[in-house]
């Protein structure tokens, strides 16, 4: 792969993009990233590397992205506003671009009190929308947030943001998505979707505002291993709604793990049919080994796996 974002290439050629999340380890072993990337590499178009997800300290996203990039794959650098101020984010953007990392996902981040350093101080110098705007100006206008000019090469990054479409207030979520489009986001990866019908309503609002023409929207999906996990997602995770029918299917199944994979496959197939959905983002959270099966069964890849890591 050359200096171009593979994700951007797929989306610009009107392909259906498949991305998957990979969480760095709570240690310094690069093999964890290499093994995860090998597992996913043949099956997805880009690999998101999380940034101290759930506010738990881990190997940095930037260094894990560099490892993924060195394997010839396309990483998505996730950056939270929780851990970095505008200076640090901009220097990481320059460094990422220099390393050939071509995608960034601008996030607010889970609150610091929810992780393993609850006594530390959250940064929150800028918010995620301001981060998108800042990165776009760096890329397109060659200026830093302060107005100071970038010297020489500008960072060449494809800019993403997140959205939680089913969180309240329902009327405002699409307005906020519009702000992300205006700020300069190229793609959106959403919170996990189980309730396709409600997501369909959201996408109708998106199309009404023609936001799907400005942004490539990749709804998030998650394979779950048990009815208990699904119930937790439904009741504890803001913006995540799981229809009763899916919980009942998980409860009734003799093989909950297999049912969880099947549900994930069916969700992808249903989401793919919604106008304006340009791909899917799979968040397997330490169950990455099922991603190839999910991608294959959902028939979302036009071609067979390239076999780079077979």
């Amino acid at each position: 792969m050359t200096g171009e974002s593979n994700l951007k290439r797929i989306l610009e050629s009107a392909g259906f993009a498949v991305t998957a999340e990979l969480g760095p380890p709570k240690g310094a072993d690069r093999h964890v990233i290499e093994n995860g990337a090998k597992l996913l590499g043949d099956w997805v178009d880009a690999i998101n590397i999380t940034d101290n997800q759930t506010a738990v300290t881990r190997m940095s996203s930037l260094s894990a992205c560099a490892i993924v990039k060195s394997m010839g794959l396309d990483p998505v650098l996730q950056i939270t506003a929780r851990d970095r101020n505008a200076l640090a984010i901009q220097s990481d953007i320059l460094g990422a671009s220099a390393l050939g990392i071509r995608n960034v996902l601008c996030l607010t981040g889970d609150h610091i009190s929810m992780g393993n350093h609850p006594k530390s101080k959250g940064v929150h110098d800028i918010d995620s929308i301001q981060m998108v705007q800042m990165v776009r100006k760096m890329r397109d206008e060659g200026v830093f947030l302060s107005g100071d000019r970038i010297t020489g090469e500008k960072p060449a990054v494809f800019i993403g943001a997140a959205e939680n479409p089913l969180a309240p207030p329902p009327e405002f979520r699409v307005v906020r998505l519009g702000k992300k489009a205006n700020a300069g986001a190229d793609f959106i990866q959403t919170q996990v979707i189980f309730d396709v019908e409600r997501f369909r309503v959201f996408m109708a609002q998106v199309r009404e505002r023609k936001l799907h023409e400005k942004l490539a929207i990749l709804p998030g999906v998650m394979p779950v291993k048990s009815a208990k996990v699904m119930n937790y997602m439904n009741t504890k995770v803001p913006g995540v709604r799981v229809p009763d029918e899916l919980i009942q299917r998980m409860q009734a199944s003799p093989d909950a793990k297999a049912e969880g994979v099947t549900i994930c496959v069916q969700l992808i197939q249903a989401l793919k049919e919604i106008e304006g959905v340009r791909g899917v983002h799979i968040m397997a959270v330490q169950w990455e080994e099922v991603v190839p099966e999910i991608v294959e069964r959902a028939c979302v890849r036009k071609k067979q796996p390239v076999g780079k890591f077979a």
Partner: protein, 223 residues
């Protein structure tokens, strides 16, 4: 007002352990209103210290007082003679009072309170932080509800994905999402259009975080 909490008595006793003559000095301003460091609290605190020290067999001589405002030398000056006879002062003012006394007097000035925040009286016995003193007010754009003080992530462009269906914040179950409150308020004011605009990155140079300790100078008021 400035809202403060009394430190645990145990911690205060440790601070005072080596002193035998102490002035317990309250402040009749904010901390009196929030019932942490006014005249009444000085009396209770002094009694508690005397009792504890007697039980330890190490009596302490305590003088009690309360300045009108410990943040101003003018109101501390009447206590100067008393202060100079002590080994230490236990201040029941906010941290400003402790700093002010420390600049003026050579003896140790010890904090009896943990100074918390600028707060409103939510209801009897409950105070809530609603202003962060960031130095650059945007309340006219947010329906009078401050996202810097009231959003745990200082967001300026609407609620994050961590808001629950009942409008509370994922950080604390009893914390209302500031942006849901702002949304509802702007809806009431028929100004939801404000929320469609991107609010630019905040200028933190007016805040402590960016500009360091701050100072306000009114030359026309100076003597």
């Amino acid at each position: 007002m400035i809202v403060a909490d009394q430190k645990p008595l145990e911690e205060i006793l440790q601070m005072l352990a080596s002193y035998k003559r102490v002035l317990v000095l309250g402040c009749q301003s904010c901390v009196a209103v929030c019932m942490a460091g006014g005249e009444k609290e000085v009396g209770i605190m002094a009694s508690a210290i005397r009792l504890a020290r007697r039980q330890q067999g190490r009596d302490v001589e305590i003088v009690e007082g309360a300045a009108k405002r410990q943040c101003d030398d003018e109101f501390n000056e009447p206590f100067a003679g008393t202060i100079e006879k002590q080994e230490a002062v236990l201040s029941l003012a906010c941290g400003v009072g402790v700093n002010k006394l420390s600049e003026r007097f050579a003896l140790p000035i010890l904090p009896a309170l943990n100074t918390r925040f600028f707060g409103e009286v939510e209801r009897q016995g409950v105070w809530t932080e609603v202003c962060a003193g960031c130095g650059q007010c945007i309340l006219h754009l947010t329906g009078g509800i401050c996202p810097i003080a009231r959003c745990a992530k200082n967001l300026l462009n609407g609620p994050c994905g961590g808001v629950r269906d009942d409008g509370t914040c994922e950080v604390k179950p009893d914390l209302q999402c500031a942006w849901i409150l702002i949304y509802n308020r702007l809806q009431q004011l028929n100004r939801l259009d404000y929320l469609a605009e991107i609010m630019p990155a905040k200028d933190w140079s007016a805040d402590r975080a960016g500009g360091g300790p701050r100072k306000r100078v009114r030359e026309d008021m100076m003597l």
